[in-house]
Symmetry: C3
Subunit: 138 residues, 3 copies
């Protein structure tokens, strides 16, 4: 059984981290599947999906580390293509990747206690983000 | 229903980025599955799969950022093992990971407009790369 | 068919890399599935799953590169939250991500010859790590 749902999440960009764990679990609940996995995928090239211990201080640490790799405000070749300012956003998004898959058993996501599923929006302005959650199970 | 196909893609290495979106969509089409996901996996330890807005300037930006983390031409312990020169390639490949999974609905990959599925070859010479595309769906 | 198993692996932390390839292949064997994929997921926020050519020198190179991005021993905001010392561990784990999916065919993981499936433990002390292996196939 496969069900595909879309979430719309509000983001402020610039490395904003949005915890979608409860929403992903709700979709697993709704599917009534007992065993399987939830694929969480963001359909854009300036955002990523991963897991983190979701707490505000760690979010700051993550931003800082990623800004070392691809600092905002530097010159990027990509800016010449569209006149954009989000070259650093694209680089970070490709590095972290657009998808994470989480297994579940007895209808419950097998996450650690301090592990949340998050969408990280690297773009340079706030927006609504579409996130796809696909549950495959039995 | 699960179908597994292999793509052979030509790469120049050194961070070369190959857009395989159309080929992945073709395999989804061929499977006739309406709902499901495509797992794209590269079976080597010096290449990765991710998504990016595929345009030449951004490819340059990605290379530059990854070269900060693991520059080519420096000494790597790995070079002592085999007399190779691709320690930086391995580090980048592990960082980005070998696989990405993309959901589809109504037979169409749920990618963003500016989001392509790409194989990134970090090795230090050109070669043919084998890429596995596995479609699971119904 | 979906089967979900848990592995317990011993780790020394600080970027320790544990090769779980043989154990993942065993679970695929046990499932008797011929075609499908193995999702390997670590249920904690200071460890990751990826692939690498597993040899001790390359493990050193990987640690060194990741320590450039998030060095141990620096100040992290996260340390203020819990009085912990593992801010760098969390940052690295989110960057590499908690899961990797490997396709198999004829009951055999489609890995490259020099490509192993590994759990990387970034935490700052040794521990037992729980790793979930979920085989979906037919």
């Amino acid at each position: 059984m496969i069900i595909t749902e879309k979430l719309s999440v509000r983001s402020d960009g610039h490395g904003d981290v949005i915890d979608v764990t409860a929403k992903v679990q709700e979709i697993v609940d709704k599917s009534k599947a007992k065993n399987g996995s939830a694929l969480v995928f963001v359909n854009g090239s300036t955002a990523s999906v991963s897991t983190i211990e979701y707490e505000p201080n760690l979010v700051k640490d993550l931003k800082k580390a990623l800004d070392k790799i691809a600092p905002y405000g530097e010159d990027y070749e990509h800016h010449k293509t569209w006149g954009d300012d989000n070259g650093s956003s694209h680089v970070k998004a490709t590095l972290l990747g657009p998808s994470t898959t989480i297994p579940f058993e007895d209808g419950k996501l097998l996450l650690g206690t301090w592990q949340q599923v998050v969408v990280i929006d690297f773009d340079t302005s706030g927006r609504q983000r579409e996130v796809i959650v696909q549950v495959s199970g039995e």
